[in-house]
């Protein structure tokens, strides 16, 4: 995978003039370097999440736990709480990172993440309705979010689909985005309305869900997420080539031999499913989908890469969860922990802004 992907990344780069001058082998070298560094960061953060924090586990103990030994106290906290939580965090980070990056690349718009084009809001509206109207909790909320995300995505796709013919299908991407905006606005209005029509306690529960939280992670969720990703990640890898074609525009993609309409359908379905399973597992963890793509692109000096976006997503979620669950309570007076989605934007956004500030010479590689 790595050699052709590297070559293709090199070709995609050619569309951004600032990077075109960078020799292809250097771009590939940088890509490997960034990948390795991010993978290392994911591992370190994963271990920090599992081993440190409010309850500290030593590495030998952790190894013994993994081998199946029972240590009173530690067994429960690590195996039933911290480990599944960290796994869910990693997986949703990967899923959101890829989903956002697919939309941003395919629609050639850094603002087009599932947050903005309606899918997350579909999940949110459905879940908040379940919480507020039916008093749902736990898995029921997840199921409702999943249904909402898929339902809205289907509606958006059907309404933006038009038989190609006199107008061609080159506006299909733009129409998808615009219809998505319309639905996002409606769903957001519904959420705001529901929030004002319920008692403050339920509103706060809903707000925690709306921000995304890993508190209810367990092995069932890990299993569902892992199974979904086992199907979706290979699909993503297969579609990545067409995605790089579509990035250059529909006509250029067709010229490169990409079958535009089926590829777009495949990519949309994959991205929507990724966003939907992740949202169902932990809520629409804010801004991970939006931030991962641009951060990855700037780390790679302009070239996009789904793998790097996925790793960036995982890093953001793991770092944010550790900060929210363990660091904040140390400084806040009442000792409450913050849900992960409250911290993701606060960690990811400054980093992206810093990259924007320091990338003086890379003119417009966004």
């Amino acid at each position: 995978m790595s050699a052709p992907a590297g070559a293709l990344a090199g070709r995609a780069v050619a569309s951004t003039p600032a990077v075109a001058s960078m020799p292809r082998h250097r771009a590939r070298h940088r890509r490997r370097l960034v990948c390795a560094a991010l993978a290392g960061a994911v591992v370190v953060l994963f271990l920090i999440n599992v081993l440190l924090g409010t309850y500290t586990v030593t590495i030998p103990d952790f190894v013994r736990l993994l081998a199946g030994e029972r240590i009173p106290g530690a067994s429960f906290i690590v195996m039933e709480s911290k480990l599944p939580r960290a796994v869910v965090g990693t997986l949703i980070g990967i899923a959101f990172g890829i989903a956002g990056s697919i939309f941003q690349t395919m629609l050639r718009n850094p603002l087009a993440s599932p947050d903005i084009i309606g899918i997350s809001y579909g999940a949110s509206a459905s879940a908040v309705a379940a919480i507020v109207v039916f008093g749902a909790t736990g898995l029921a909320v997840s199921a409702s979010a999943m249904l909402g995300a898929l339902g809205i995505a289907l509606l958006i796709y059907l309404l933006s689909y038009r038989r190609s013919g006199r107008s061609g299908h080159s506006a299909a991407g733009a129409r998808l985005v615009l219809v998505g905006i319309g639905f996002a606005a409606m769903m957001q209005a519904l959420v705001s309305y529901l929030m004002t029509r319920t008692d403050i306690r339920t509103a706060q529960d809903a707000l925690v869900w709306l921000n995304g939280s890993l508190n209810s992670s367990n092995w069932d969720r890990v299993l569902i997420l892992a199974a979904s990703l086992a199907l979706l990640l290979p699909a993503t890898a297969l579609l990545a080539r067409s995605l790089r074609g579509l990035e250059m525009g529909d006509d250029a993609a067709a010229g490169l031999g990409v079958r535009v309409a089926p590829s777009r359908l495949g990519l949309v379905v994959t991205a929507v499913l990724l966003a939907a399973v992740a949202t169902a597992a932990a809520g629409p963890v804010a801004f991970v989908a939006f931030l991962s793509g641009p951060i990855a692109r700037r780390l790679l000096r302009g070239a996009g890469s789904l793998a790097v976006s996925a790793l960036v997503g995982a890093v953001i979620v793991l770092a944010a969860d550790f900060t929210g669950a363990n660091l904040f309570p140390l400084y806040l007076t009442d000792g409450t922990s913050l849900p992960v989605g409250v911290v993701t934007g606060a960690l990811g956004a400054p980093f992206l802004l810093w990259l924007l500030v320091t990338a003086n010479r890379v003119g417009r590689g966004g």
Binding site: P110, L111, A189, Q204, G257, G348, A349
Partner: protein, 380 residues
């Protein structure tokens, strides 16, 4: 393994590009059926006919806006017949209950008018400046800045009344926009559209996170904030309107006449520069107008997101991409959407009401989706 191996050369027959104007519609059918006119005369006459059509469209829009304003005074929990409405406006009698109702609705209508106009024009200018159809006034960080400032005001200083929110919202909006523009302007090319959009969206993400952090940990703040957040034009007094009116007027003056600049932006920075435009300066100038408008609107009515995002798209679907026409149409039609939504919101949930911020999306979005489906979307 070279890239060439993955580059199959295959000629694919393509239908005409969608961006081409009316390819399915023969040019001769538009005004010059016989094709008798000389090309230059033809172009001139078509342009004149276009201007005539555009101007009469503006007059029509103005008429619709006037009707909506009257409707906003007449409808609500208590319906006022037309004659009484006219009497109340021309010959006010304080003892008459109906007259009092009409007068109570005037500030609300004025608020809707001002906020709608400000958001529509700001949204149009923002999409032009950022050259991005997803850009709305909030993309400069204005809404997030205002919201965080209001939350801070409630949380730290216990601000409870609307006039108190205004100054917090305005300060937050201005500060956030200044930061976004400052970050985007660093670097060789200055504030390019892509950097502007990314910096704005990123700052919005960061500020929203901080805001949510406060909201999650403080129930009282959430309780006050959730009602400000949905956006409403009701319950604003003359003092609040008076406070933001100068800003909206100044912002409209700044922004309404930037059509030519925005048209040049649409051609790309390099072409605009080639046409003699000082790109950085004019972008900063337009952005200033957007911030003033959007900050004032948000301060007065809370964050109403949909209007600024959608009105430019709606307008563009019948004016085409010329910003000199889009701006005045947005000025007139955005308040129609906001006031219309407010009126419906007053009527559907009697005896209560649903706030305009919610109704704009509920009413506007289906219309918007319908138009997006029916029309070819005019690009930026």
């Amino acid at each position: 393994m070279g890239a060439e191996a993955h580059l199959p050369v295959r000629a694919v027959p393509r239908p005409p590009a969608d961006g081409a104007p009316d390819t399915h519609y023969p040019i001769a059918a538009r005004g010059d059926e016989a094709g008798l006119l000389a090309p230059s005369t033809l172009a001139a006459s078509r342009e004149r006919a276009g201007i005539g059509r555009m101007v009469s469209g503006l007059v029509l829009a103005l008429g619709v806006l006037a009707l909506v304003c009257l409707a906003s005074l007449a409808f609500g929990a208590r319906q006022i017949p037309f004659e009484t409405l006219v009497q109340a406006l021309t010959n006010f009698d304080p003892a008459n209950g109906d007259h009092a109702v009409v007068h109570a609705r005037i500030p609300r209508t004025v608020t809707g008018l001002l906020v709608g106009a400000a958001l529509g024009v700001a949204g149009t200018a923002m999409q032009g400046v950022a050259r991005n159809p997803l850009a709305d006034p909030g993309i400069l960080g204005v809404n997030a800045g205002a919201a965080l400032a209001v939350v801070t005001g409630i949380y730290l200083f216990g601000v409870a009344e609307l006039t108190g929110y205004i100054w917090f919202a305005f300060a937050g909006a201005a500060l956030a926009a200044a930061v976004v523009y400052g970050i985007a302007a660093i670097g060789r090319e200055g504030a390019t559209p892509i950097k502007l959009a990314l910096a704005g969206a990123a700052l919005t993400a960061g500020l929203s996170s901080l805001m949510n952090g406060v909201l999650v940990s403080s129930q009282d703040t959430l309780d006050a904030f959730r009602f400000w957040q949905i956006g409403s034009v009701g319950g604003r007094g003359w003092d609040a309107i008076g406070a933001v009116l100068p800003f909206i007027a100044a912002g409209l003056l700044l922004t309404l006449f930037t059509g030519r600049l925005l048209n040049n932006f649409a051609l790309g920075d390099d072409v605009a520069r080639g046409l003699g435009q000082r790109v950085g300066l004019s972008r900063a100038f337009t952005a200033l107008g957007v911030v003033v408008l959007c900050g004032a609107a948000t301060a007065l009515a809370g964050p109403i997101a949909f209007v600024g995002l959608v009105i430019p798209h709606l307008v563009r679907s019948f004016t085409g991409p010329d910003y000199r026409w889009i701006l005045p149409y947005a000025l007139l039609l955005a308040p129609v959407l906001l006031l219309g939504a407010d009126i419906v919101g007053r009527l559907v949930a009697l005896p209560g009401e649903i706030q305009a911020g919610i109704m704009t999306a509920v009413i506007g979005a289906p219309v918007f989706i319908w138009i997006v489906r029916r029309r070819k979307t005019a690009g930026l």
